[in-house]
């Protein structure tokens, strides 16, 4: 379903303190099956978001191929990929109503037919916010905003869902609640999920698989429980996992 074959991504970074350009190289080899739910962890700056941006098509690999749904993604713009993605914040357009924000997932022009309007209401009821259609994002809580964004991803009918720390700003109880919702949705819609997280607590156990990234490459790729095995002690130490 998601295949990264010898993907290399080079980029130069202006170092303001040394006023020199540093070149960074990342390389990924990855195979994720349809319907898998994968959590991606690792130190900050390791390349977790870069991995997701590569898959979504916001950045282009220097070499190698990305195959999604058996289709090579070279030169395919983000809008044409079988992917939808959510971020930690700014997922909603502030001056559009909840309904309009979701409707964008169907048509950017916002001119919806009656059936399409009904579809928006339906999807909103799946995330429990069908009563908020006329409200604006600033009138909603953080958790509600992310649900709306999720609803919009669902209405796009794209088989792969990428989440870049979408619940990090929420408190713990809400975070677990949202994770449950995501799991539930992924099963109901049979989505493939990749989610970047910086929480290394019990939430990891909700995923089929855990990928650890350090210094631009995958150093661990197994089920979450394996992290606590003695063989993976170095990885656990890197993540400062407590056994």
């Amino acid at each position: 379903m998601i295949t990264l074959n010898k993907v290399i991504y080079r980029y130069s970074m202006a170092d303001s303190e040394k006023s020199a350009n540093l070149e960074e190289v990342m390389h990924f080899n990855l195979e994720i099956a349809k319907g898998e739910r994968v959590v991606v962890v690792g130190p900050s700056g390791a390349g977790k978001s870069t991995l997701l941006n590569l898959i979504a098509g916001f950045i282009q690999p220097t070499s190698g191929e990305i195959i999604l749904n058996h289709q090579n993604m070279a030169n395919i713009p983000p809008g044409k990929r079988p992917v939808s993605m959510l971020f930690q914040e700014n997922n909603l357009f502030e001056h559009l109503t909840v309904a309009q924000n979701v409707a964008l997932g169907i048509k950017p022009s916002l001119k919806l037919s009656r059936e399409e309007k009904q579809e928006v209401i339906d999807i909103l009821s799946k995330v429990g916010l069908e009563k908020e259609v006329k409200r604006y994002p600033h009138q909603l809580s953080g958790g509600q905003k992310q649900r709306i964004a999720l609803a919009r991803s669902l209405i796009q009918h794209r088989p792969i869902l990428l989440l870049d720390e979408p619940f990090s700003a929420l408190d713990q109880a809400l975070r677990f609640e949202m994770l449950d919702l995501v799991n539930h949705i992924c099963e109901a819609f049979s989505l493939t999920l990749m989610m970047v997280s910086h929480y290394l607590d019990a939430s990891l156990q909700q995923f089929n698989r855990c990928i650890v990234i350090n210094d631009g490459t995958v150093i661990f790729n197994d089920e979450p429980a394996a992290l606590y095995q003695p063989a993976n002690q170095t990885v656990a130490e890197l993540l400062r996992l407590k056994g």
Binding site: N53, G79, K80, M85, E89, N90, F93, P108, S109
Partner: protein, 531 residues
Amino acid sequence: MVPIKTLLPGMFAATTILLIIGVALSSLLIFAWHTGNIAIYFDAYLWHTLQITCLQAALSTLLSILAAIVMAKVLTLVDFRAKSLLLKIMSLTFFLPSLIVVTGIIAIYGQHGWLAKICHWFGLDLHISIYGLQGILLAHIFLNFPYACQLFYHTLMAVPSEQKKLASQLNFSHYIFFKIVEWPRLKRQLLPTALLIFMLCFSSFAIVLALGGGPKYTTIEVAIYQAIRDFELLQAIVLAGLQLICLFLLLVFSNKFNKNSGLNISSVPDDYKLPLSILGYVVTIFILTIGVLFILAPIVAIIVDGIYAFRWSLLTVPLGLAILYSLIIALGSAIVTLLLSLLLLWTNSRLLLKNCLRSSRNLMIVGNLVLMIPSMVLASGFFLIFFPYAEDPLFVSLLMIICNGLTALPFILRVLEIPMYDITRQYSHLAQLLKISGWRHFSIIEYRALKPLLVISFSFAFLLSLGDFGVIALFGEQSINGYSVTTLPYYLYEQIAHYQSGAVTALTLLLLSIALMIIIDRNRTHYDHTK
């Protein structure tokens, strides 16, 4: 209650300002009566003047804003190496002396300017006259559009990259992205920016005088100058009153909307650009090239013409004197401006801290009063009182220091008002605990914390005075035995007549302005870092 000690500095400054304005206005009135020259014309020409003033200001504003939006959008679509330099230049053309603008515009678009030469080279005979409305608009757009553009650009760049990524995932076209994401953000900034440009164009003087091409295209400000020159003092007062009413209405209007200026938005480092089609890319590069040429050509023309025309023999004594007078007057008026604004803001910050909003607002209105009263009216008021000294360079210099100092005040207040308040509030409790007040408070807290801002304000006031062509237009003609006060802009105006030799003066003025702008820019970067 606010202690009298904190009120004193602001009261002193406000009284000084009111006194200066009051004395100038009443002297005009008294002398108008005294000379019996009390004709007032409320005829068709007056309405014509008012109409043209509004029309050219409205057109200038509209075109500047439109161009600024297009150019800002284009700038967000592509990256190139000199972009940050270009943006810096764009934020600075706004403050170029208006006569430099005139010189640059003539050098490019004049009958024998670069444009005509290039067209001639291609076998086209271009016969556009830059005198009249088109010249005024061209100069005003050149002056204002880059400033608006870089403001808009920063607003557009402040759109979170997540939203751009989402937009590309949701298959937004550039039009829909502009409509849904960018326009609502721009809209908030549009009105304050447009009003500022409108007000500056409304009271435009040197540009209209030099490029207006006669009485058909004139502004109230130019009409005031004409009236004063003809000693039709009452007519001058009527015109000044008319201008005051118009600008006051605008100011009230703008205060209603000017809630967030939205400045100081740093662009997001992790930038993402929406995909651009080949056609879109070509159009973008085309617009960008035209925009960059429009902004840079006049400046480059002044530099090239200046270097080309340079002879050692052109570094004459009058030029040296003009530089000397300009520097002395600019230095003096920068001191006046900084002093007055610090006194006003010292009291203002403490009033705000005590929640005396009304007193604070009144104080700021006094500080901004000069924005509505043409400095020409101020200067001629004093000119009439001190007529016997009118050819004394010392007196004329002092007068210009005061007038230019007052003219720059509203701009400096805008720079310093919020930081002064913030710093006072921030250390208010600490200062009370440590019993720091008065002069020590200033030297320990304001001076140290705001030093870069103070340097910016000082250079800014210096720059505004350096480029002033208004008051000197009245006084440049007064002399004893042939010697008179000449500033660079006045000398340049005299030389625009034979613009070959004006090239060196223009270059000198431009280089001085650029030097000041570099100082301002350096300190702004420094201030942003320390904040």
